[in-house]
Amino acid sequence: MSEPLSQRAATATPPVLAHRIRGLSDRAIAWIFVAPTIALLLAVNIFPLIWTIRLSLTNYRSNRPNAPVKWVGLENYQKILHDPDIWNTFQVTAHFLIWTLVLQVLLGFGLAYLINKKFRGNDLWTTIIVLPMMLSPAVVGNFWTFLYQPQIGLFNYVIAFFTGADPSSFSMIGDVGLAPWAIVIVDTWMWTPFVMLICLAGLRSIPPSIYEAAECDRASKWRQFWTITLPMVLPFLMLAVLFRGIENFKMFDLVVQLTGGGPGSTTELTSINLKREAFEKWRTGYASAYAVILFVTVFGLASIYVKALNKVKDR
C-alpha cells in the first residue's frame, strides 16, 4: 500500500524548509496563506481608493499629463455639492432607484409566490421568467430602443392596442415625462426575475411543519401569509433590495444604451454624469471627488441597511 499524500509531501519537503515551517506558529502560517489575498485586495481596492481621494484634492486632468498639478483642498467637493446639475442627477437616480426597487420587490415577490405553488410546467415557467436577467444589460438597452421606437416598436403598438392611441403619437425615450419611466420599465423587466429567485429561496426555506401547525390552529391563509410567510421571507427580500439598490445606484450600461441620459438630462443618472466628467471632460480631480461622494453615499446607506437587515434576521 502506498504512503498517504500528506506523508509523501512531508518526506519530499527539503529539510531546511521543513525546519523553518516547523518553527512557525499556526497564526503565522495562517497569515502566509491569507497574505496574497490581502495584497491583492490592497492593490486593486484600497490603493485605488486612496489614490482617488488624493486626486480629488487636486485639479489634475488626465489629458494634460504635462500640466502642473495644483492642490485645491476641498474645492472640488464644494463645487460638486453646490452644483444644481449634480443635484438634478441625484434626483433622477433617486426616482430610478425607488421605483425600480418598489416594482421589482412587488412583482418579484408575487411571481415567487405563484411559482412556489405546485403546478404543471412550473420549471418551464421559472426558466422563461429568468431569461431576461441572463442577457447583457447593453444588449437589453439596445434591444428596447427598438421596442420603444414609435413607428415600428412593439411596445407602442401594445399600448395603442389597449388605449386606442396612435402608436407614433408618443415616444417613450424621447419624451421628458415618459423617459424616466421608460428606464424603470426596462430595468424592472430585466431584474424582477433576480428578486423572484431570492424570494423563492426564502419561500422554500420555510418548513412545511409551520404551516401545518398553523392549519391545526385554524389560522386563515391571510393570517398565515402575514405571520409566517412574510416575516420569514423578509430577510431574503431585504437582501434582494440591498443587491438591487447597490446595482441600480451605479447603473450605467443599460441606460446609456437606452437613452444616453436624455432627452436633455432627464435620465442622466449619477454614474453617467460621473463618466462624462471623468472621461469626456477629463476633469479627473473633480470626477474623483464626485466618485468619493458617491462611494460614501452608497457605503453609508448600505451600512445602515445591513444593520437593519441583521436586526430583522436576529428577530
Partner: protein, 439 residues
C-alpha cells in the same frame, strides 16, 4: 509547396533589402465607417510598394472619441497613425500626442498650399492660422443635405407647393424655405407610406446635436468669440441671431422630424433616408456616395444641396473631416511618416476620391471634370467653400459636453428658452477657459 514557401520568403527578403528598410507592421486608427473601408482598399497599393503591413483599428463614431482620446491620453502604443477628429488637434498638439510635421513636409516637398485652405486650418494647424502642422488633411467632410429629387419632381406636389407657398418646390436656398418644405412633406402620404419632412441631428451622448445645431446657428449670426478679443463670448455666442437660430432648430425638430428621433446621429439619418422616410436629410457628405448607389434611393432619386443661407444671407456649414497624424508614442514613426508621404501623392489622392474618400488636395477637387464626376461633387465643393468648425482647443471635449447638454435640454427636452440655453453656454464655456487659464 515547401519550395514555393521558401521562394516567397526569399522574394520578400529581397524586396525588403532592396527598399533598404525593415518591413513594419503599422496600425492606423480611425472611425468605423464607409471611408475606412475605402482606405483599406487604397492602402493595399502602399503595402505592395513598401513591404509594410497595415493593420486597422476602427471604432464606431459614437465611441470613437472616447476610445481614441483614452488611447492618446494614456500614451498607448496601439496606433502609429491616427486619423483623429478635427477638434482634437489643439489638445494633441499641446499635450505632445501628435508629432509636428513641418520638417517632414519641407523635406518631402509636401506643401499645405496644395490642399483646400479650410481643411488645412481645420485639420492640420495648431494654433489656428499659424504654419504649425500636426496632420495632413486626409478626409474632407462637411454637413450638407440630401433630398428626394423624385418627390420634388412630382407635378402634383409641385403645383400644391406653389399654391401654398408661392414659390417653386426646389432645393431650399434659405433655412426659411427649408422649413416650409419640411412642413409641406411632414405626415404626407407618398406611395402609400407616411413620410416626414426632415431629418436633423439630435444625438446627446457624443457630438450629434452640437454638429446639427451649429450647422444652423452659424448662418444665423452665431460666433464663437469676439474677433478682436479671444475668448470673449458674451454677445457673440448668445447674440440675438444665435438665439433665433437655436429657436429655428427647435422649431424644425418639433414640426418636421419623424417620431422617435430624439437621440439620432449619422447612422439614424442614413437609415431614415434610405428607407424612404424623410424628404430631406442633414448629414455629413461622407454618406453621399452610399446614397448614390443605394437600390432604394440611388441614382436620380436623390439630390444634394449645401447648407442653406440664414435670414441675413450668411451661409456657413459645419466642418467635418479629419487629418492624418503620426502618434508621438509610436515606436514606428519613420514608417508612419512614410505612409503619409505616400498618401499625399496626387495620384494616390485621385484614387482616394474614386474609391469614395473625399480628398482635400486641390489638384483633385480643382480638376476640370471633378464637379461632374459624381452627382454630389458640386454640392460637396459648394459646401466645403462655406465651412466653420467647433472649438479645437485642448479643452474641446469639455466645451462640447457643455453644448451637448445645453442644446439637448432646450431642443429635445424643451426645457427653458433658447436665450437661457445660450446664456448658460457662455457661462459653461467661460468656466472651462478660466480653468484653462485663458481667461
Amino acid at each position: 509547396m515547401k519550395s514555393k514557401l521558401l521562394f516567397s520568403a526569399a522574394a520578400a527578403a529581397f524586396v525588403a533589402g532592396a527598399t533598404g528598410a525593415k518591413a513594419e507592421d503599422l496600425t492606423l486608427c480611425w472611425a468605423a465607417w464607409d471611408p475606412a473601408n475605402a482606405l483599406i482598399e487604397l492602402s493595399k497599393e502602399y503595402e505592395a510598394q513598401s513591404g509594410n503591413t497595415m493593420h486597422y483599428e476602427f471604432v464606431p463614431w459614437t465611441s470613437f472619441a472616447d476610445r481614441m482620446l483614452n488611447e492618446l491620453n494614456s500614451g498607448g502604443h496601439l496606433c502609429d497613425l491616427m486619423i483623429g477628429d478635427s477638434q482634437w488637434i489643439g489638445g494633441a498638439a499641446e499635450n505632445g500626442q501628435y508629432i509636428k510635421l513641418n520638417d517632414f513636409f519641407d523635406a518631402n516637398g509636401i506643401k499645405m498650399d496644395d490642399f483646400i485652405p479650410a481643411t488645412v486650418v481645420g485639420y492640420a494647424e495648431w494654433p489656428k492660422n499659424t504654419p504649425n502642422y500636426y496632420a495632413l488633411p486626409a478626409f474632407a467632410d462637411v454637413v450638407g443635405w440630401t433630398y428626394r429629387k423624385d418627390w420634388f419632381a412630382r407635378p402634383e406636389l409641385q403645383a400644391e407647393f406653389k399654391a401654398k407657398y408661392g414659390y417653386d418646390l426646389a432645393p431650399p436656398a434659405t433655412f426659411a424655405q427649408l422649413k416650409d418644405i419640411a412642413e409641406f412633406f411632414q405626415g404626407r402620404e407618398i406611395d402609400g407610406k407616411k413620410v416626414y419632412g426632415a431629418y436633423i441631428y439630435t444625438e446627446r451622448g457624443s457630438e450629434g446635436i452640437t454638429m446639427g445645431a451649429m450647422d444652423v446657428l452659424y448662418s444665423y449670426g452665431f460666433k464663437y468669440q469676439n474677433p478682436d478679443k479671444p475668448y470673449d463670448m458674451e454677445g457673440f455666442v448668445n447674440s440675438p441671431g444665435a438665439i433665433a437660430g437655436l429657436e429655428y432648430y427647435k422649431a424644425l425638430y418639433d414640426c418636421c422630424t419623424a417620431p422617435g428621433m430624439s437621440n439620432a446621429y449619422m447612422g439614424e439619418g442614413v437609415d431614415a433616408f434610405k428607407s424612404g422616410q424623410v424628404a430631406m436629410q442633414m448629414n455629413f457628405t461622407f454618406t453621399w456616395p452610399g446614397f448614390n448607389t443605394d437600390p432604394n434611393v440611388g441614382g436620380d432619386k436623390t439630390g444634394y444641396f449645401p447648407n442653406p443661407a440664414g435670414p441675413d444671407g450668411e451661409q456657413f456649414a459645419q466642418l467635418g473631416g479629419q487629418g492624418i497624424s503620426v502618434v508621438a508614442a509610436s515606436s514606428k514613426q519613420a514608417a508612419a511618416l512614410d505612409y503619409i508621404k505616400w498618401f499625399a501623392q496626387p495620384s494616390v489622392q485621385a484614387k482616394w476620391w474614386q474609391l469614395g474618400g473625399y480628398s482635400a488636395l486641390k489638384s483633385v477637387v480643382d480638376a476640370p471634370d471633378f464637379a461632374t464626376s459624381q452627382p454630389y461633387a458640386q454640392a460637396f465643393l459648394d459646401s466645403m467653400a462655406i465651412v466653420k468648425d467647433f472649438w479645437a482647443e485642448p479643452s474641446y471635449a469639455a466645451l462640447l459636453q457643455a453644448s451637448q447638454k445645453r442644446f439637448h435640454d432646450y431642443v429635445v427636452a424643451g426645457q427653458g428658452t433658447a436665450k437661457e440655453a445660450l446664456d448658460g453656454l457662455v457661462a459653461d464655456w467661460t468656466e472651462v477657459f478660466k480653468e484653462d487659464g485663458k481667461l
